[in-house]
């Protein structure tokens, strides 16, 4: 953060930064749901997250198109980490791979909560946008996480 933007913040509320630009759509309107933004190859229809410059299978430029990924996935594998990450995430925290059947893609992501019993392979999860850490300037960093889908029976 440069001096000008530091000054602009003085005495004001903290504002949030995102972990990486262009990863997700954050809902501003009530009722709207968040989603991850990936892209797809118009030749082979394969989807990518995060977005790629070109499709590694078709090797063509200019044939990639942004897509909203489906919000629901199934945990492929998960773990609970008990050490803080060098990138600044406080222990304990849970993460893993989530398969998104609609888009035939597997994504890496953090999970909400940090209970050993909360997550297991095969579990249905949904996307949420949440703070994942606090950066060196004390600002919240917004990322995405997966949380268990409530069982409704």
């Amino acid at each position: 953060m440069n001096e000008t933007s530091k000054k602009a913040l003085e005495g004001k509320e903290k504002y949030a930064v995102v972990v990486e630009a262009g990863l997700f759509h954050y809902p501003l309107n009530r009722g709207e749901k968040p989603h991850l933004t990936g892209n797809r190859c118009n030749i082979c229809d394969k989807r990518f997250f995060p977005k790629r410059t070109g499709c590694p299978y078709c090797f063509k430029d200019g044939d990639m198109e942004d897509v909203e990924l489906d919000r629901y996935g199934i945990i492929y594998a998960c773990t609970l980490v008990h050490i803080p990450s060098p990138s600044g995430i406080k222990a304990p925290y849970a993460y893993g791979y989530v398969d998104i059947p609609v888009d035939r893609i597997r994504v890496f992501g953090l999970f909400t909560g940090a209970e050993p019993s909360s997550f297991h392979a095969g579990q249905k999860v949904e996307l949420v946008i949440e703070p994942i850490k606090t950066d060196k300037n004390g600002q919240e960093v917004i990322g995405y996480k997966f949380k268990p889908v409530e069982n409704r029976h």
Partner: protein
């Protein structure tokens, strides 16, 4: 393509060497390899140096030139190589190509690392990757692999722990090892949890150290008073990066192993001694499977029945592996080959695998999209055993 032989080999003790520089550690390992070869440093025609973290941790680049000039070696090509945990073995392969391709007759390959981090600091390699920003850490990535292997194949946490128990038992017999302490399955399971199911004693340590080998042509090898050991296969391959791939094994490792066996005209059943990349306990179990030592999914039961113990069906990591010997990143791949050479030459002391004639070393590194950036497999073969020499034990 010409045959390539091992000349002298050497390594430093692995561990904490706070007061020693990269060049000091590298020098010691090289000096041992040179002295065992009984050659003059000036006979070395090219140098390959592996170092992965010097630029990030010590602010030092061009490490190869710094190490070799400590030995008075100048005016030759020196190449610095990085390929994460496979840095050393990648340098070895480049050195092998330089001789196999007919460019040189004597090449020095050295791997050196000071990976013990200054107190209170954490290495943030791969900081640009999304996974890293989201908190991915090495033990966590391998924890996912372990969880899946347990789920799919019924591998148990006790079987995982047995890898650490075996390797620490081997390490007690190796004076070069960082941790020479016996562990029980309970010790491993009760050590602090790092990333479920990976506990502290399921992880290799960060270490400082160096390892070096002299490679030479057949003609030059005949001049050396050493039991001839030949490089029968040298393979390097990068990952597949296939989204949605099965994570209970590494396709890239299976590919590398197949290519190596084909190159050597050998199969897993021919091996007498194996060193694999046991950065975490689960890794060794999967390597058994990927290298064809046992069937897919059988790795846990394979260690449980003692197949990979010293004296077992196929001893794996007699050196103590990374878990006990330590893991100075860019040195590890070369140290594995040093260990194999000692076994093939009958110099491995109390941990000697009897009548070892064929050995394999495997290492891989650099996480990317749930895959690995570099995987190497080397197969070494003792060519004959008719020369009797004054080989001193390396215990």
């Amino acid at each position: 393509m010409r045959d390539v032989y091992l000349g002298g080999v050497g390594m430093t003790v692995f561990g904490k060497h706070l007061a020693r520089r990269l060049r000091d550690l590298g020098r010691e390992a090289c000096l041992k390899a040179i002295e065992e070869s009984r050659i003059h440093p000036k006979e070395i025609q090219a140098g390959y140096c592996a170092n992965a973290l010097g630029s990030a941790i010590q602010g030092e680049t061009g490490v190869g030139q710094n190490v070799l000039w400590e030995l008075g070696i100048n005016k030759i090509p020196i190449i610095n190589i990085e390929n994460a945990c496979a840095s050393g073995s990648t340098a070895l392969r480049e050195g092998w190509m330089a001789i196999a391709g007919g460019f040189y007759d004597v090449v020095l390959v050295v791997g050196v690392e000071k990976a013990v981090m200054p107190k209170g600091t954490m290495l943030n390699v791969g900081a640009a990757e999304l996974e890293t920003k989201l908190g991915d850490v090495f033990p966590g990535y391998f924890a996912l692999t372990a969880k899946k292997h347990m789920e799919v194949y019924g591998t148990t946490k006790e079987q995982l722990a047995q890898v650490s128990v075996k390797n620490h038992a081997n390490g007690i017999l190796n004076s070069y090892a960082q941790f020479r302490k016996e562990f029980t399955v309970e010790d491993v399971l009760n050590s602090p949890m790092i990333a479920d199911p990976i506990t502290l004693y399921s992880c290799c340590p960060n270490s400082d150290g160096a390892a070096a080998v002299i490679l030479c042509s057949e003609k030059k090898a005949k001049e050396l008073s050493l039991i001839p050991v030949k490089v029968a296969a040298s393979v390097l391959t990068t990952g597949c990066y296939e989204n949605g791939a099965d994570i209970t094994g590494w396709e890239v490792e299976k590919l590398a192993a197949k290519e190596a066996y084909d190159m050597a005209s050998l199969g897993p059943e021919d091996l007498n001694v194996v060193e694999v990349h046991d950065a975490f306990t689960i890794c060794e179990i999967i390597h058994y499977e990927d290298l064809g030592l046992c069937k897919s999914g059988e790795g846990g039961r394979f260690i449980e029945k003692g197949a990979t113990d010293l004296g077992g069906l196929i001893p794996v990591n007699p050196s103590g592996g990374l878990l006990s010997k330590g893991h100075p990143v860019a040195a590890s791949g070369i140290a594995q080959v040093v260990e194999i050479v000692w076994h093939l030459r009958g110099q491995a002391g109390k941990r000697q695998v009897e009548n070892a004639r064929i050995g394999l070393a495997q290492i891989m590194g650099g996480g990317k999209e749930g895959d690995t950036k570099a995987c190497t497999v080397h197969i070494l073969v003792k060519v004959q055993n008719t020369i009797t020499l004054d080989c001193k034990d390396n215990i």
